[in-house]
Symmetry: C2
Subunit: 198 residues, 2 copies
Amino acid sequence: MSGSSSSSSSDKLLLAAIDLIADRGYKCVTTKEIAAAAGLSEMTLFRHFGSKQNLLESAFDRFHYAGEMQKLFTEKLVWELETDLLLISRTYHEIMNRNRKMIQISLRESGSLPGFREKTQKHPRHLREFLTDYFVKMAERGKMVSTNPDLQAVSFMWMNYGAFMNNREGWGEGTFADVALDDFIQESVKLFVGGLTP
Amino acid sequence: MSGSSSSSSSDKLLLAAIDLIADRGYKCVTTKEIAAAAGLSEMTLFRHFGSKQNLLESAFDRFHYAGEMQKLFTEKLVWELETDLLLISRTYHEIMNRNRKMIQISLRESGSLPGFREKTQKHPRHLREFLTDYFVKMAERGKMVSTNPDLQAVSFMWMNYGAFMNNREGWGEGTFADVALDDFIQESVKLFVGGLTP
DNA sequence: ACGAAATGATAGTGAGTACTAACAAACATA
DNA sequence: TATGTTTGTTAGTACTCACTATCATTTCGT
């Protein structure tokens, strides 16, 4: 059977492309390099994907993990601020980390390649709405004070986004991440809990 | 008088280069385009800078605003948490905004061009040390509780960094920035003040 | 073992682009 | 006016790179 993506050669190429493009950029990486990194020949690349651009688009469609977030929450929330924020923060970083390379690509290539930015920005948008909603409901239950749930949600998100951005080369070494991820999560959640409950 | 960057032609070229490279990427932008955007000819570009790479490096040296931060603080701090955090946050966004395009470039081009990442990361590193120090001193004065000043400083910084990143196309429209910058600053500072004072 | 599908090796095309060479025009200063 | 400096123009070089064509080779189901 053939099709456009039959064996695992396609996947090898897609993964190699993601790796290389994520840390050197679309224009910098050559098709020959990608093929070599995948252990295949350049011809195979073009036979599978026809063009370099289509290769990247296919990579995005195949390896951009989406969704998941809402379901996890609506099931597991216990309506206790600290516990829930911890869950949300940890889940957020887990998903962002899984999509790390895709995010890097869409960050770098927005402006040169069109329509990539949008795809990675669906997550945050949904999460923001969800969090705002959560804060509103928590306030209704009298479990927190919420003068401005939307800004509070956004603050929490941006803090975690900033944390992710500063450590996307991997937590534990390099840059200025002598901060362990979960230490940060715990302390930052404490901070927000303190700021949201009088 | 000649020198390597005499008249304003050099500056026109540097600014055009920054603009174009910031939103399309180093490899995507051609020297001819840059020259055209500057209203000059391609030859003039090479006469002034010799090579494309040197053009970008010169741009960085000339238009990357650094320093400033520490001085502003050590002079203006009043040792009242909310006031100081507001000053710090506003100053931070002001500087980041002035360096917006440079940051975009160093973000995009780190990995392809070497040594750019580091330059834009000096700011945050200094700021982090400063903030940690500030928290320690505030705790000594009994004006806040500080179980973990470094993580608290980092949380505050990353929140503001995340805010900046999500709105570097300009505050007020687009993306998901229906949030005004100063509204965010005020609310987020309130949150941290609440979390840091029992 | 046989045939079909997938992969490889090699060579090449065509477009784009950083950068150079040589000469002409505009401009300033003295 | 004369001279030097800056810019423009035009043509061209050398190189990279996405992509194609052709033929040989491997892999694999049956």
